[in-house]
Amino acid sequence: MTDKNPCENGPDQKIGGPIDIHAYLGEFDDIPGTRVYTAKRARQGYHLNQFAMSLMKAENRERWKADERAYLDLWPMTEDQKLAVLARDYNRLLDLGGNIYFLAKVFSTDGLSFLQAVSTMTGMSVEDYQAMMIAGGRSPEGVRSIKANRDAEGAAVTKESR
């Protein structure tokens, strides 16, 4: 009675068939400039994200604004996480297990929009970032795979040295 799995012989065997979880997770590290929010990060960032979540409540936002460090010390976060929050270093926070939708509570409390906060992670000014978006956004060309970029570079070098 069970229908044939439509993805079994599909263009890609990665879903719908047996999955090697290590290969599945391993591929996430091959994407340039991206931190996929895996179980490992979710575990590492649990208290960081729950701290951020607490800023959903107006009274907590007031306490946070009154003394950021004292408010952070109420949470069992690592010192690195606390310092990265105080510095609003969002790339560092992603490395330490933060998730963007939770971290959004921090930058929203600062009065920043998603666009303003996101631009800080790209090394671009807000103006340049917004201009890039209006011009159609960042092209996926050259930012799909670290390995593919390395291979292409290697091929170019080999060609040059010939």
Partner: protein, 299 residues
């Protein structure tokens, strides 16, 4: 008998909610989007369903890291707009349809989709922005809404294949509900966007258009796209598009596109929108003994 009349997909970018709430649609930045949705508003008023099953994801609003349901269905009487950190949106409360929602929840569980049942929660921009895009700013939403929340934040989210199959199971559940109701299924989120890291701002219009193309007809190719392809091609948050496949699966074997709209950007994101009509709404029979039996009872 309840029946699925149409499917709609729509991005749920929070900035669209801001544009609606603060009447910014005449700004040159927002005007193309307003114009893109205007025909849908007119069409929807003429094809108004009784109930919308609204597939969306919560963005750290109703669910935090304490509980992460993969698939959750709202069976409550009503839902309030969430305070996402800057006060709740000034939009009407969302009225549920507990009878149909509980019926769907029961049917899905017997069909081996192990749903989380939610009776009380607030709903965030993921759910309320699509309502604003399709209905504008009414004093009361003109439809009842069954929220269907999908985890697309913490990895792994469900596969596209599983989402499609859930859509098919929703179609079976709706068909076996005795009351005469018109039901639309909406898939929300997407399209390409990345909100994090140095690669933020990624947009892949070509891929997005491919995805829009393959939602119509009888192809099932989209259900086989692996997570890594969404991540590489459409940015880390493009994965939300698996939720569109629940809508597509629920429309059955073959669909026809009634209209589409695509625009870059709104904030960090590609706005995508499509209206689909079932041509052949047939879905495979339930694979489970209990599911097959409940189908039989309904006949």
């Amino acid at each position: 008998m309840a029946r699925i009349t149409h499917g709609i997909a729509c991005s749920h970018i929070p900035a669209l909610g801001v544009a609606s709430d603060f009447d910014k649609w005449e700004d040159p930045y927002w005007k193309p989007i307003q114009e893109g949705f205007a025909p849908t508003r007119k069409w929807e008023a003429e094809n108004l369903p009784d109930v919308v099953i609204l597939v969306y994801n919560d963005h750290a609003s109703a669910f935090d890291m304490k509980i992460i349901p993969t698939f959750a269905i709202g069976c409550g009487e009503s839902y309030k707009p969430a305070d996402e950190g800057w006060g709740p949106r000034a939009v009407p409360d969302v009225e549920g349809h507990p009878d149909l929602a509980w019926h769907i929840a029961q049917s899905l569980i017997l069909d081996e989709f192990d749903m989380t049942i939610i009776n009380e929660m607030d709903v965030d921009h993921g759910l309320t922005v699509p309502l604003s895009m399709v209905f504008g700013k009414p004093a009361k939403w003109p439809v009842k809404v069954i929220p269907l929340a999908v985890n697309v934040v913490t990895y792994p989210p469900p596969s596209g294949n599983r989402c499609w199959a859930l859509g098919e199971a929703i179609a079976r559940a709706v068909e076996s509900f005795p009351e005469d109701l018109k039901v639309q299924v909406w898939g929300t989120g997407g399209m390409s966007h990345q909100l994090q890291g140095p690669r933020a701002g990624l947009i892949n219009a070509e891929w997005d258009q491919m995805f829009l193309d393959k939602l119509s007809g009888d192809t099932q190719e989209l259900r086989c796209i692996p997570h890594i392809e969404y991540l590489r091609e459409t940015g880390s948050e493009g994965i939300e598009m698996v939720m569109w496949l629940i809508m597509r699966g629920a429309l059955g074997k073959e669909t026809r596109e009634l209209r589409r709209f695509y625009h870059v950007p709104a904030s960090n994101t590609a706005v995508g929108h499509i209206v689909l009509e079932p041509v052949n709404g047939a879905v495979p029979p339930s694979a489970t003994v209990e599911g097959a039996a409940s189908q039989h009872l309904a006949d």
